[in-house]
Symmetry: C2
Subunit: 690 residues, 2 copies
């Protein structure tokens, strides 16, 4: 392939000279920053600089002065290790990222961490690094754009109309999460999605031929993408390919661009050594010489190049201004829509939306919390146009279908997404929808399969994205499907993820409250953990905030002194209530604490926590059909935990629950054993304090 910008080539015109200068500026900044940081990834930025330059200066509609402009094109660097490409572009095109920050690459407190972090650095649209995630995020952004456009645009008024671009690497394309998202993007015909594949033939272990010899282009054609193959260093070819991709509105576009890792480095280009290590002072020198670059100072930016890049500022301001004019006209014509649009973007829920939340009564028939969740979701959806989502081929089981709304593969206004049996792709897409803004996405699967999407959940938590997960079939209580489908360790595994709120409601009423909490959380993801099996709707003291406090006293001892506290979550709360009856019948003062969320409870003031779990009451039994891991913090050294060691088993749910000792009799017996274990003196003391 022709290598127009390789060091041997001669610039033929002034524009060519300027282009080469600009591309090399990116290369040198990446090389110098990694060198100064003494760690990082110089190779990708140097190899992908040319195509990124074309994209950012000729195609990307963005406003460096306002990275929040709603109708900007989105750009995701899925290969996040190449962060210096992005930081260089952000600095050069005029974002609030001073050169000093590039000099502090990978240092404590800088805005230039080792992988791009959304929310930390202006203009970074997604936190990337774990491969394949950014690929899926882009699909989610394009879906967000498509839905909002279909929902808010009116004939002659295209207020939502932007593209989503990404640079993806061979690592992204090997990851299954990207395969899942790619198949879905093709299925949904996301014509405004354009991906550049940085095909540099190098991975950490060496040449991609070690492990990756499939026909990538053919695979993407099989997914239904429009595929082009180009020389990624041929600026004209990149320009032409991007123009063609933008014109192709019926299919997502995949541009396979042959590049060379560490392009321009005389000894390290095309080697694995340039992937994740500084080039070294000597090679940096040789590269600068080869590029005709001044050896000093480091971080040199030619004024011509900077001037050319910085045209993005004015172009961006003008672009947003034009859009604002269009929007104002739209707002005059459709004031209600415009207000709704503004609210949705700011994450405001419509006033009074919570009135649509259904109320459940203890007189109602038993219902699984997944059923209650389905009722809630369908009741609130009409009031919340931002709420869209679906399941990984389990909507009849997770009760997440919005009955009054269309399917997304049949209508761009469709709010029901059939993600297919692609939990991980779903997770990455949900993150992309949330990153886009204007969307409150939810995604559903069985709790046991939260494992499949765990890397995406982690990124939602790290990025503080308001994604809602609906995880049903939440314990061995699901029964016959057996241990492959029965979660045991998943509650603990989710609770340990920082910034993730896990809510396991005990009945329909708590489920409605949990949905309310989830929707009012704008700064972190929430996982709703729901049963397959039916549960009674519980009688409880009227209160607005029983679930939002994480734990509360659901039933207390009556006239008897408090001796035992039963702490339970979800389906085990009604079991605890049954156990309490037996204990109270044995004249043992028993409190039942429903604890739907450890995280919310931990955020309460100590006074509240001690009111619910008085420190003096040491006889505490936690009841949860899951691993006991972590419960010790709530029951204390002298407490006990009725949980599950090992895996589940296949049999009807009630049989499994009984075989695993989740019976009222066992609850009472374990609680009584706690009292017996304590010395009579202590026990009396407890009584007095209670």
């Amino acid at each position: 392939m022709a290598e127009k910008l390789s060091m041997e080539s001669k610039p033929s015109t002034e524009q060519d000279r300027l282009d080469e200068l600009c591309v090399n500026t990116i290369r040198v900044l990446a090389m110098d920053a990694v060198e100064k940081a003494k760690s990082g990834h110089p190779g990708l930025p140097m190899g992908a600089a040319a195509m990124a330059y074309v994209l950012w200066t000729q195609f990307l509609r963005h406003n460096p002065s306002n990275p929040q402009w709603a109708n900007r094109d989105r750009f995701v660097l899925s290969a996040g290790h190449g962060c210096m490409l992005l930081y260089a572009l952000l600095h050069l095109t005029g974002y609030d990222l001073p050169l000093d920050e590039l000099k502090r690459l990978r240092q404590w407190g800088s805005r230039t961490p080792g992988h791009p972090e959304h929310g930390l650095t202006p203009g970074v649209e997604a936190t990337t690094g774990p491969l394949g995630q950014g690929f899926g995020n882009g699909v989610g952004m394009a879906l967000g754009e498509r839905y909002l456009a279909a929902t808010f645009n009116r004939p002659g008024h295209a207020i939502v109309d932007h593209f989503t671009y990404a640079i993806v690497s061979d690592g992204d394309l090997m990851e299954g999460v990207a395969s899942e998202a790619a198949s879905l993007a093709g299925h949904l015909k996301l014509g405004k999605l354009v991906y550049l594949y940085d095909d540099n033939h190098i991975t950490i272990e060496g040449d991609t031929s070690l492990a990756f010899t499939e026909n990538v282009s053919q695979r993407f054609e099989a997914y239904g993408w429009h595929v082009q193959e180009i020389d990624g260093n041929d600026l004209n070819a990149v320009t032409q390919a991007l123009a063609t991709a933008r014109a192709e509105l019926d299919r997502p576009s995949f541009i396979r661009a042959r590049t060379h890792i560490a392009h321009g480095s005389p000894n390290k280009q095309d080697t694995a050594g340039a992937h994740g290590s500084p080039l070294g002072a000597e090679e940096v020198r040789l590269t600068k010489e080869a590029l005709g670059w001044p050896l000093e100072p480091a971080f040199h930016i030619p004024p011509d190049a900077l001037h050319h890049f910085r045209e993005a500022v004015k172009r961006g301001q003008a672009g947003q201004a034009q859009w604002q004019t269009r929007f104002d006209t739209y707002a005059s014509a459709f004031p209600d829509l415009a207000k709704e649009w503004n609210d949705i973007l700011q994450g405001k829920l419509p006033a009074g939306w919570e009135e649509s939340l259904p109320a459940f009564s203890p007189q109602e028939a038993s219902m699984a919390t997944r059923q209650a969740s389905g009722k809630v979701l369908n009741a609130i959806a009409p009031r919340l146009p931002a709420l869209i989502g679906g399941s990984a081929d389990l909507s009849p089981s997770t009760n997440t279908h919005l009955k009054d709304f269309e399917d997304s593969h049949l209508s761009t206004r469709g709010r029901n997404f059939h993600f297919g049996i692609r939990e991980h792709g779903m997770g990455a897409i949900l993150n992309g929808m949330a990153l886009h803004g204007g969307i409150r996405p939810y995604g559903a699967t069985f709790l046991v399969f939260s494992d499949y999407m765990r890397p995406s959940i982690r990124l939602a938590a790290l990025t503080k994205l308001p994604v809602i997960y609906v995880f049903t079939h939440d314990s061995i209580g699901l029964g016959e499907d057996g241990p492959t489908h029965q979660p045991v360790e998943h509650l603990a595994a989710l609770r340990v993820i920082p910034h993730l709120v896990v809510l396991r409601p005990a009945d329909a009423t708590e489920t409605a409250a949990a949905w309310r909490i989830a929707l009012e959380e704008w700064n972190r993801p929430v996982a709703l953990i729901l049963t397959r099996q039916k549960l009674p709707v519980l009688d409880r003291p009227a209160s607005d905030d029983f679930v939002s406090r994480g734990a509360y006293v659901l039933a207390d001892t009556g006239t008897k002194p408090l001796q035992v506290i039963l702490i339970a979550t979800g389906s085990e709360v009604s079991l605890a209530l049954e156990g309490r009856k037996l204990l109270e019948a044995n004249r043992i003062g028993t409190r039942v604490v429903s604890m739907p969320s450890w995280e919310l409870f931990a955020e309460q003031p100590q006074s509240y926590r001690e009111k619910v779990l008085p420190p003096a009451v040491k006889a505490r039994l936690a009841i949860e059909a899951a691993s006991p891991f972590g419960w010790r913090q709530h029951v204390g050294e002298e407490g006990d935990i009725l949980g599950i060691d090992g895996f589940g088993a296949s049999a009807p749910g009630p049989v499994v629950m009984e075989q695993y000792n989740f019976t009222a009799e066992n609850v009472a017996a374990r609680a009584e054993a706690l009292l017996e274990r304590r010395s009579p003196k202590t026990a009396r003391k407890t009584k007095r304090k209670g």
Copy 2:
């Protein structure tokens, strides 16, 4: 497409009649068993019965009398929800699975759980159900076969020579883990891998066109597979396709077989309703009528059909006997190899193998535990031919390359696998290698990316497979790569998986011991958690079993009474030792407990546990650069945990560690605060007891 076996067709010959009878026997058994269980998946077994019948009666070399025969063909039902297909075949072909067990489908204590469980039911080669996993398992089995054949076969002596078959569903093919494994299988040209795709067009949410419209055949061609498309109910077409697939030894084979879910059911065939629910008594009746089947009794097996299926018993015994003759000849010619083969299959490590384990001395330079692990691995590999593995494109970082051995993509004897950036595929393939037998597989990636392969780890644990995971870069101490790459919650998330042993060695010596433990575990997976950063080689009392007991006293208070216990793992152990110095200098009697494995420690007798952590010593500080989640069980109510709340940050490792308060000074201060918090009286009491 022709539907040779559809209910309207007329048998033209006696063989055709018998074939139809046999196929319908499978269908009816599946239908009746699910009906009796009142739950399950009748649709897949009914739809795939014809092709499974051809495979099992004409191609599969197996010995129902000895499901352990080493050279049997492997068969994986990746779509595990169709378990009744497998149970029916196992019963009919004469495995030790009586009809009564089929009648107890999905009941407590039966050998016919809701999804197939390896180890529970004879003839079940893999635990399946979580989709995509079985697909990857088959790839691992084929790799196991290929490696063992290359290693043990000699010209004229093919003692390892079998095929690996699977039936996979659209759900499997949508999952990213299968995409990853498929790409790798094509790359490695696994010619003895043959997959039948049960293309029945139906998922739980409805027609596959809801979410899955990609060109699957083209995708598999892109991966480098040999692809055929057939009518899955045309027995001749299935026969021909399987024969062609077996003859194609340069590429894995993908046979896309159009089938019809719930084939034969007049009203439920081709509907989503037949996927995961019983057909219902009336529809069962109608189906039996349509198939010309007696309505009573349920579970009717025509004697002709049973006789035909049961020919597998004699055929299998004869097949194994022939193989045994071949093996005996081989054993005469190559007695050493034959012994090695027998040992390897029984999971015996060669006598004296542990002598190859390197010893490390406190006089040596500091080294990361990943480096120590690399030294150990390379030292023991020549003695352990069963030990093969690799990494998900991180071998230079995880130190898992076996320097003296070839690459698997260059030689079938290669022991180094380049899994590519496909952690999940790697996990499923490792499971398949372990399931095959004769292999001790290991796989490596960064600890943070254990999330990507978590569903496979869970299945390894559930199936008690001796897979070894090498997870390096195990904390914020990895530094610059930042929070996307810094594990925080992963230690807890792995510890909570039942049957998984997590080992986080503190230095090179513990690393060697950890490898020894891992290799001697034949009944469960082990995860080794290793540092990126260098650590001193610690001085410690000589002992054989310090790591195998999970926790031990590494350094104790000298003449002073014991006041404080510092409990640490991995890189924080040397920090604890530094903290101890400060405390002892302050005249505070301090013990340091290294706790490389919670699981192994929990298995020790109480007396040992209390020796290490005397109950009377309440001032305990746990130190681990990870989430504190779960540590309360070791430090007690009055103890403290120096851990990490929230995520990490990008900066050089030592800076991050310091910013997160992992310093000797802080360790000492937190420990002293524990003593101060306790009343003087209590503190004195503790002193006395210590």
